[in-house]
């Protein structure tokens, strides 16, 4: 491990003398840089998709999953008492962060799409609604139902499960897809860089032969190739990630509409991912090329 690290450091600091012994191989170089760039670009997009889905899931979680509603249908004169009783029950329920009865204005607003804005809420036998906000752990739905049934006969707990599940399910599937795509992309990148390095090494059998003839050690020859390919992959990935970043920044951000994909982008610390992806690709390239170089050198002895 220590050797690997010192090797990696040595590689980055560099041994330009050794590197000169490897011919520039124009097309392979471009291939490596381009592959790394394209793959980094795709990774960043997949990542952005995943992060957006994460946020979406979070949003749904906080908007739907962590709020429940208790509906209290009771004759007008008992309503206030039952609401108070329900609130008392909720106060002593573990997992409930807060609970409050909706005001008439709020209830009117909620019902506006159905009844128009002029609904005489106070004169109607409309159930009273209590908004319950869960803690992140959530509460025990069955337990709470049982307690409410006992103490507040007119109360019905609606934890929005019915609405939440397909959405959370969709979000988690989309997120999973994003991560699978990233894993696939990084894996493919590693393989492509390995194969590019191997074909460069195979095409440079003559170089290896000459270097051997004049007494170069395997490590010396390998370093030259590894350094080149790692730096190329790193450079390509950086370019790709930056381009992707720019592309994402210029995507019309439709935050105002509140729609589904509005959040396709990075926020705050998430931008660091733009750096992490090239580094990851660089590390993959380092190990992939190193293994390839040592293998080819062993085979060609």
């Amino acid at each position: 491990m220590k050797r690997l690290i010192s090797e990696a450091t040595g590689m980055v600091i560099g041994d330009p003398e050794a590197e000169r012994s490897v011919p520039p191989t124009g097309f392979t170089a471009r291939l490596t840089v381009f592959t790394a760039a394209a793959m980094a670009f795709l990774s960043v997009f997949a990542l952005a998709l995943s992060l957006a889905t994460d946020r979406l899931a979070d949003q749904w979680a906080s908007e739907l999953a962590q709020t429940s509603t208790i509906r209290i249908s009771a004759p007008a004169e008992q309503a206030e008492a039952q609401v108070a009783a329900a609130l008392r029950v909720l106060e002593t329920t573990p997992g409930v962060a807060s609970a409050r009865a909706l005001t008439d204005a709020e209830q009117r607003e909620l019902l506006a799409p159905w009844f128009g804005p002029d609904l005489p809420v106070d004169r109607l036998p409309i159930p009273r609604l209590i908004e319950v906000v869960e803690t992140s752990d959530g509460f025990d739905t069955t337990g709470l139902r049982a307690r409410l049934q006992a103490e507040v006969p007119g109360a019905i707990l609606d934890d929005h499960t019915r609405w939440r599940e397909p959405l959370v399910d969709a979000a988690s599937r989309l997120r999973l897809l994003g991560w699978i795509a990233i894993a696939l992309i990084i894996g493919a990148t590693g393989t492509m860089i390995t194969l590019a390095a191997q074909s460069a090494l195979a095409a440079n059998a003559q170089v290896i032969r000459v270097m051997r003839l004049v007494g170069a050690e395997d490590g010396y020859i390998a370093r030259a190739f590894v350094r080149r390919f790692t730096l190329r992959a790193l450079a390509g990935a950086l370019i790709g990630a930056i381009l992707a970043g720019v592309a994402i920044l210029t995507l019309p951000s439709a935050d105002t509409t509140g729609g589904f994909l509005t959040g396709l982008g990075f926020r705050g610390i998430e931008w660091l991912w733009l750096l992490a992806i090239p580094v990851l690709i660089g590390v993959v390239a380092f190990f992939a090329t190193r293994a390839a170089a040592l293998r080819v050198l062993r085979e060609q002895s």
Binding site: E17, R20, S21, P23, P24, Q206, V207, R209, V210, M211, R212, L213, V214, G215, A216, E217, D218, G219, Y220, S301
Partner: protein, 224 residues
């Protein structure tokens, strides 16, 4: 320096030679001749560790070649200057860099740069120093290969047909370079089919001529 004892080699099929023994004493000068395909190049490769004998022992600088690991072989190669039969260069480096490659690889780039120019002049490549290998004539490449073989001032110099593409005059000059090195105490082994070259050498230095033929290594003499 280099000792072969009862050595046999085969590329998988029939044995090229067997029971072959050879001892290159320090400061000796050997020629190796024999018909094309007899195994001269193969024998030389055994002497610098590119091939391992199928049986018998090859001792390089008192070490068993079969027991050297890959890095030790690399180290040993730095003490042996080799002129390969099809001279091999790095096509993207100038001849100057190619000839200096053994220095670069062993980490002594700058030390010998004056010597480098002298050496290039000696083999008649001063003008071509900045050309790339594919831009050289066949003979020029062979001379460059010899220059590369001697630049590290190695203990042993092994040359495989170093004058195959070179005119007689230049051959004489390369020969005198080798003879000079031999007089400085270097051990020399040259494979060649140019009997005139051997004859010319015989008059200037005490050398032995070995002949590889019909799977045997014999001392040649009378016919030269």
């Amino acid at each position: 320096m280099i000792e072969l004892e009862d050595v046999a080699y085969s590329y998988g099929g029939a044995e090229l030679f067997s029971g072959l023994s050879l001892k290159l004493a320090p400061g000796s000068f050997h020629f190796l001749t024999g018909p094309s395909g007899a195994g001269k190049t193969t024998l030389l490769k055994l002497c610098y560790g590119e091939l391992l004998a199928t049986s018998g022992h090859v001792m390089l600088f008192e070490q068993d070649a079969a027991r050297l690991d890959r890095d030790q072989v690399a180290m040993m190669r730095r003490r042996i200057g080799v002129v390969h039969q099809d001279c091999q260069f790095l096509d993207h480096l100038t001849m100057r860099d190619n000839v200096a490659l053994p220095l670069t690889v062993s980490g002594r780039s700058s030390a010998f740069s004056a010597d480098l120019d002298d050496l290039l002049a000696w083999v008649g490549l001063r003008r071509q120093a900045d050309q790339l290998p594919p831009q050289l004539s066949g003979g020029e490449r062979q001379r460059a290969a010899l220059a590369r073989a001697v630049i590290m001032s190695p203990d042993v110099i092994i040359a495989d047909e170093p004058t195959g593409n070179i005119d007689w005059e230049m051959s004489q000059r390369l020969l005198s370079l080798l003879i000079e090195l031999n007089k400085m105490g270097k051990t020399i082994l040259v494979a060649t089919h140019d009997l005139n070259l051997i004859r010319a050498a015989k008059s200037q230095v005490s050398s032995r001529v070995l002949r590889l033929k019909d799977r045997q290594l014999q001392q040649a003499g009378a016919e030269l």
